[in-house]
C-alpha cells in the first residue's frame, strides 16, 4: 500500500499491574480476567469498521494503561486486524517491568517498529515517591532487550517536578535517559490529578509540585536534550531529526484517527468521538453489537479554528496568527514569549520560545481572545492543516 493520506488507529489497553500514585488514566489493576474478551472485542470492532470502510492506517498506537501487559499473541492479534500502509509507524507503550525478549521479538515480527517506555525517573527515591514498581536497572535491561529485538526507534517518558526531586536528581534522570541511546523523549510536568493517591495526599496537606522548580526542570531538559541532538517538536516532546512520533503528530495537526477499545478517542469526518469508559461496557457493547461510542461532538468553524490554532501553537512549526491579534503578538514577542516568523495568508507564523512554551495555556488563551484564530483561515474540517506531516524540520 502506498503512503497516502495520514490516518491513525489508537488502541487503548486499560490494564496495569499496579496503579501509579499520580495516574488517572482509564486503566484497571484488577480486571486481568477480562483481557481475552477485551482483545476479541477490539478485533471485532476493527473488523466491523473495516467492513464499513476504514482507511488504511499510516500509524498505529497501542496506549494505556500498559499494552505490554498483554501476552504477545494478544497484542499482535489486534495489530493483525489493522490494515496498514507500507512503512506505517506502529508504537507500543511499554512498562519496563512487563517486557521480555520473546515478547519484544514477537512485536517486532508483527510489525511494531517503535517502543515507548514509561520510565518517569532514573532516581530510585523519585520512582518510589511516584509509586512506580521498577528501578533504573530494569529500564536499562528493557531498552537493551528492545535493541536486541531490533527496535531502532525507542522513546522514554519522563516526569519532572516530583516533590522531593532535586535539580541534581532531575539531571541524573536526563543523563540516564540519554545514556539509553533513545532518539525520542516525552517529558511531562507532574500534574496533580484530584482522583489519584497523589491528589488525595496533596489535598491532605502533602507538598504539591512547585511551579518554579518545574519551570527550571523544563528549561534544563530542553537544554540537555538539544545538546544531545534531540530538539523539541512539541511542548513536551523532543526527538532526533525524523524521529518525531507521527501518530502523536496526527493529534496535534487536526488529523484523522479511530479509537479502538474503551475510553479511546477518535476523530473522523469532522467529528470527535469517544468510546464508553470501562472495559466491561466496551466488551458488552461490541458483543451486543451496540455502539461502543459514548459521545461525540462536531465543532463549529470557529471552535475548529481555535482548536487548530491552539494545537499548532504547541508545535515547533508554530501557528498562523490572524491579523486581529497583531497587538498581542507584538506584546508577547517583546516579552520574549514568542517568535514571529514569515507572513502567511492574512497572518504571520508564530512560534513559542522556551519561556513561552512553559506558559502555553495562558498565551494561547490570550491570543485566542485577541482573535488570533479566525474561522476564515481555518482548514476544511477533517483535513489536516498545511503544516501536517513531513514539514517538520528538526
Amino acid at each position: 500500500m502506498p503512503f497516502g493520506v495520514p490516518f491513525g488507529v489508537y488502541v487503548h489497553i486499560p490494564f496495569c499491574a499496579s496503579r501509579c500514585d499520580y495516574c488517572d488514566f482509564a486503566t484497571w489493576t484488577d480486571r486481568d480476567h477480562l483481557i481475552d474478551d477485551y482483545v476479541s472485542a477490539c478485533v471485532t470492532d476493527l473488523a466491523r469498521r473495516r467492513a464499513s470502510g476504514l482507511p488504511i492506517a499510516t500509524s498505529v498506537f497501542f496506549g494505556g494503561g500498559t499494552p505490554s501487559l498483554l501476552a504477545a499473541e494478544q497484542l499482535t492479534r489486534i495489530l493483525d486486524a489493522i490494515e496498514r500502509a507500507d512503512g506505517a509507524e506502529v508504537t507500543v507503550e511499554c512498562n519496563p517491568d512487563s517486557v521480555d525478549a520473546a515478547k519484544l521479538g514477537a512485536y517486532r515480527r508483527a510489525g511494531v517498529d517503535r517502543l515507548s517506555f514509561g520510565v518517569q525517573s532514573m532516581v530510585p527515591h523519585v520512582l518510589a515517591s511516584l509509586g512506580r514498581t521498577h528501578d533504573p536497572a530494569n529500564v536499562r535491561r528493557a531498552v537493551d532487550l528492545a535493541r536486541d529485538a531490533g527496535f531502532a526507534r525507542v522513546s522514554v517518558d519522563l516526569i519532572y517536578g516530583t516533590p522531593g526531586e532535586s535539580p541534581d536528581d532531575w539531571q541524573r534522570s536526563l543523563d540516564g535517559a540519554l545514556a539509553l541511546g533513545v532518539d525520542h523523549v516525552s517529558a511531562y510536568a507532574l500534574t496533580v490529578e484530584p482522583a489519584t493517591a497523589l491528589g488525595r495526599q496533596v489535598a491532605a496537606g502533602a507538598p504539591a509540585p512547585d511551579d518554579d522548580l518545574q519551570a527550571d526542570a523544563y528549561l534544563r531538559a530542553d537544554t540537555v536534550f538539544a545538546a544531545a541532538g534531540l530538539d523539541w517538536y512539541e511542548i513536551s516532546n523532543w526527538a532526533r531529526p525524523g524521529e518525531a512520533c507521527r501518530h502523536n503528530e496526527l493529534y496535534w495537526t487536526g488529523g484523522q484517527y479511530v479509537g479502538i477499545g474503551c475510553a479511546a478517542h477518535g476523530h473522523t469526518g469532522g467529528r470527535r468521538w469517544w468510546n464508553v469508559r470501562t472495559p466491561e461496557r466496551y466488551i458488552a457493547a461490541i458483543s451486543g453489537d451496540t455502539p461502543a461510542v459514548a459521545g461525540s461532538e462536531v465543532l463549529d468553524p470557529e471552535m475548529r479554528a481555535e482548536e487548530n490554532f491552539s494545537l499548532a501553537l504547541r508545535m515547533r512549526t508554530g501557528a498562523v496568527a490572524g491579523a486581529r491579534s497583531a497587538a498581542v503578538v507584538s506584546e508577547l514577542a517583546e516579552q520574549g514569549l514568542l517568535e514571529r516568523g514569515r507572513l502567511e495568508g492574512d497572518g504571520e507564523r508564530i512560534v513559542l520560545t522556551r519561556r513561552g512554551r512553559l506558559l502555553a495555556s495562558d498565551l494561547t488563551a490570550r491570543l485566542l481572545l485577541a482573535g488570533a484564530a479566525s474561522p476564515d483561515s481555518a482548514p476544511a474540517p477533517g483535513h489536516p492543516p498545511s503544516l501536517a506531516l513531513g514539514t517538520i524540520e528538526c
Binding site: T191, S361, L369
Partner: protein
C-alpha cells in the same frame, strides 16, 4: 381567646374599647436580658397562643432572628388580661436597633424594663431606660432570670435604685423562663401603667410606628390610634405624604392577624391600604380622615446611617438582581440606604449605609438568603466631612472618592459618646484600649462597689474597626457598650491607597489615622500578595499616601502554567480546558495591565471579616 373585655371587634360603627381598659407598653432591656422570652410567657398566660403552638421567642419570626437568638425587629401583639386589652411591643436590645425602641415607645404609655438579675444594669439598659424617661413613660422595672443560681436580685435592685432612681421595693422579680412572678408583673402593668388618653369623637389621629411589606398584601402598617376612630373602608389621609388611601383592612394582631371594623383611641393594630411603595407609608406618618383632617402627630427623626460599605455581587451578572433585592428589602427596612457605585476591582454594585455593624451584617445576610445572592462587601467605613483648599466642603462616604491630600484642608470624622459598663476589675484595660483608640474620657462612675460606668468620646471609625471585639475579649464578655453620635471633629486622617502595578485598587483604599497608616498598608499588601495570581511579569503591590509609598510587596512573574499531557488523542478534553481558561480570562478584572480574578478581591475582603 380571653374573657369579658368590653371590646367589640365586630361591632360595626360604634365605639370601641373604653380607654381605661387599655394598656400600651413596650418591653425594653439590654440585649439578651429576656424580653422575647417574657413575651412568650405573656402570650401563654393570656391564652393568645395555644401551648401546643408555643415555641421559644415566638415573636422572633425571621430566620435570622431565630438563628442568632436576637430580636432585630420590634413586634406588637394585642393581649387580653383580666378584662384589659394589653398592647405589647417586644423590642430589640442591640445598640444598632435603638431606633426600633424609640419608635415603639411613641405608641406606649409605659414600659417594662427588664434587667438580668445576674448581669445587672448594662449599657442598653441605661440607654433604653433614658429613652423611656425622656418620653415621660411609666417604668415598671423587673429583675429577670431569678431562677439562675448566679442571680443577685437584692443587690441588683439596689443598683437599679441608685442608678435609675427607681425604688428597689418597686422592682419586681420574675423568671421569664419558668413564669415565676409573671402574673404579678401583668397585674403591675395594669395597675401602674396609665390608661391611654384620647377623644373618640375628635378627628382621627393615628401614628404609624412600623411598616412592613408583604408580597401579597402590599404594605402592612402598625398603627396606634390617639384620637378618633379608624374604620375599615374609610378614606384616609396620610398627612406627611399628602396622599389619600382607602383602609382596605384594619385589624389586630392576636398575634394572628384578625380583621376588625374599628380601632379606637388607645388601640394598636394593623392597617392595609393597598400601598405598594413603603415610601408612601413611612414610619412616623400620621393617618387621619380624608374628609375630616387632623394635624400631624410628632413623627420620628429618621435614623441616619452611620456605617457604609460597598456591596457587590460576586457574579457580575447578578447586578440587576441585587438592585431588585435592595429595593425589596428596603420595603421592610427603611433604615439602610443604597446608591449605585462602580469599582474597578469589584464591578457594579452599591454603596450602602447602615445603622451599625450588626445592621450591615444582617442586611447583607438577608440579601444573600432571601434573594439568593452571593455578595462581597468592601470594608466598612464612616462618613467624612472635608474642607477643601478651595474653600468648599464635601461629604465622603467612600474612601476611593476622597480627593488628593493636596486638595484637602482638613478632614472631620464622626465622634460618638460611648458608655461602657464594666466590672471594676477591667477598668484598667478598658481605659488603655480607649486611649489607644483616640478616646477622651468624660466620666467614670461607680454604679456599685463592683460595677463602673466609663464614658468616652471617641471616633466612630474606631468602633467600626474593632473596638467592640477588643472590649469583649479584654473583659471576657463582661463589659457592654452603647454609643450615640456627638458630631464631627477634626482628625489627622490620611487616605491609604493600595496600588497594583502602580494602579490604585479602589476597593482597598481606606481612610485611617496617620499613626495607623503603615499598619494598614502592610496588612493589605501582604494579604494581596498571597491572593493576586502571578502574571507574565513581576507585579509590585504598594500602599501609598498620596505619592508616598509606605509598604511594598511583589508578586513574582509566573513562569509555568498547566502543560496538559496527552490523553491518547483526547483533544476534546484539552479544548475544554482551554475554553475554561479563556472564560476565566474574560472574567478577569483588569487593573491596569494586571489581570485579577474577582475571587481574589473577594477573598481579600472576606479575610477582613
Amino acid at each position: 381567646m380571653g374573657t369579658g373585655t368590653d371590646t367589640r371587634i365586630s361591632d360595626n360603627g360604634r365605639i370601641v374599647t373604653s380607654l381605661d381598659r387599655i394598656r400600651c407598653l413596650s418591653i425594653i432591656a439590654h440585649i439578651d436580658h429576656g424580653k422575647s422570652t417574657l413575651a412568650d410567657r405573656l402570650l401563654e398566660m393570656t391564652g393568645a397562643v395555644d401551648p401546643r403552638d408555643m415555641r421559644a421567642q415566638y415573636l422572633d419570626t425571621m430566620d435570622l432572628e431565630r438563628e442568632r437568638g436576637i430580636t432585630i425587629k420590634a413586634q406588637n401583639v394585642r393581649l387580653e388580661w383580666n378584662g384589659y386589652i394589653v398592647n405589647l411591643i417586644d423590642t430589640p436590645g442591640h445598640v444598632d436597633f435603638g431606633y426600633e425602641v424609640s419608635r415603639s415607645l411613641a405608641a406606649c404609655e409605659g414600659v417594662v424594663l427588664l434587667v438580668d438579675a445576674s448581669q445587672g444594669i448594662e449599657a442598653q439598659t441605661l440607654a433604653n431606660c433614658y429613652l423611656a424617661m425622656e418620653s415621660d413613660l411609666t417604668i415598671v422595672a423587673a429583675l429577670n432570670k431569678i431562677d439562675l443560681p448566679a442571680a443577685e436580685p437584692d443587690k441588683r435592685a439596689q443598683e437599679i435604685e441608685r442608678v435609675l432612681g427607681i425604688p428597689a421595693g418597686d422592682v419586681l422579680r420574675i423568671s421569664a423562663k419558668t413564669g415565676a412572678g409573671v402574673r404579678e408583673l401583668l397585674d403591675a402593668i395594669v395597675d401602674r401603667i396609665p390608661a391611654p388618653k384620647g377623644d373618640p369623637d375628635a378627628p382621627l389621629q393615628a401614628l404609624m410606628f412600623d411598616s412592613i411589606y408583604d408580597a401579597y398584601r402590599g404594605v402592612v402598617s402598625s398603627v396606634r390610634v390617639f384620637n378618633g376612630v379608624l374604620r375599615s373602608g374609610a378614606r384616609l389621609r396620610y398627612v406627611n405624604a399628602q396622599r389619600d388611601h382607602d383602609a382596605e383592612e384594619i385589624g389586630v394582631r392576636l398575634p394572628v392577624l384578625t380583621p376588625v371594623a374599628t380601632l379606637g383611641p388607645g388601640e394598636v393594630g394593623y392597617l392595609i391600604a393597598g400601598i405598594k411603595d413603603v415610601g408612601e407609608a413611612k414610619v412616623g406618618e400620621t393617618v387621619t380622615d380624608a374628609a375630616r383632617r387632623a394635624e400631624a402627630l410628632a413623627g420620628y427623626r429618621e435614623p441616619k446611617p452611620m456605617v457604609f460599605c460597598g456591596l457587590y455581587p460576586v457574579e457580575g451578572d447578578e447586578y440587576a438582581d441585587l438592585r431588585e433585592a435592595l429595593e425589596r428589602l428596603r420595603l421592610n427596612d427603611s433604615s439602610f440606604t443604597y446608591e449605585p457605585e462602580t469599582s474597578g476591582a469589584l464591578g457594579f454594585g452599591f454603596r450602602c449605609g447602615f445603622l451599625g455593624l450588626l445592621h450591615m451584617e444582617i442586611v447583607r445576610e438577608r440579601l444573600e438568603r432571601e434573594y439568593n445572592l452571593s455578595l462581597v462587601a468592601s470594608s466598612p467605613n464612616v462618613e467624612y466631612r472635608l474642607q477643601l483648599t478651595d474653600g468648599s466642603t464635601e461629604v465622603v462616604d467612600n474612601p476611593s472618592s476622597m480627593p488628593t491630600p493636596q486638595q484637602i484642608e482638613a478632614i472631620e470624622e464622626p465622634y460618638v459618646r460611648t458608655t461602657i459598663l464594666t466590672p471594676t476589675e477591667f477598668v484598667g484595660t478598658l481605659m488603655e484600649l480607649s486611649q489607644q483608640r483616640r478616646g477622651e474620657m468624660e466620666k467614670m462612675e461607680y454604679l456599685s462597689e463592683d460595677r463602673v460606668e466609663l464614658v468616652y468620646v471617641l471616633p466612630l471609625a474606631e468602633i467600626v474597626l474593632d473596638f467592640f471585639d477588643q472590649m469583649k475579649s479584654r473583659t471576657r464578655g463582661y463589659a457592654s457598650l452603647d454609643y450615640e453620635p456627638v458630631g464631627y471633629r477634626r482628625s489627622d486622617l490620611v487616605k491609604v491607597d493600595v496600588l497594583l502595578n502602580a494602579t490604585p485598587v479602589d476597593a482597598f483604599s481606606a481612610i485611617v489615622h496617620r499613626d495607623r497608616a503603615y499598619e494598614y498598608g502592610k496588612k493589605m499588601t501582604s494579604k494581596l500578595r498571597q491572593l493576586i495570581p502571578r502574571q507574565l511579569f513581576d507585579v509590585p503591590i504598594q500602599a501609598a499616601i498620596g505619592g508616598r509609598i509606605i509598604a511594598r510587596e511583589t508578586v513574582k512573574a509566573k513562569r509555568k502554567d498547566v502543560l496538559a499531557k496527552c490523553y491518547g488523542g483526547d483533544i476534546s478534553r484539552k479544548r475544554k480546558l482551554l475554553e475554561r481558561q479563556k472564560e476565566g480570562k474574560k472574567k478577569m478584572k483588569q487593573i491596569g495591565r494586571v489581570e485579577v480574578p474577582q475571587e481574589a478581591f473577594v477573598a481579600a475582603l472576606r479575610l477582613d471579616e
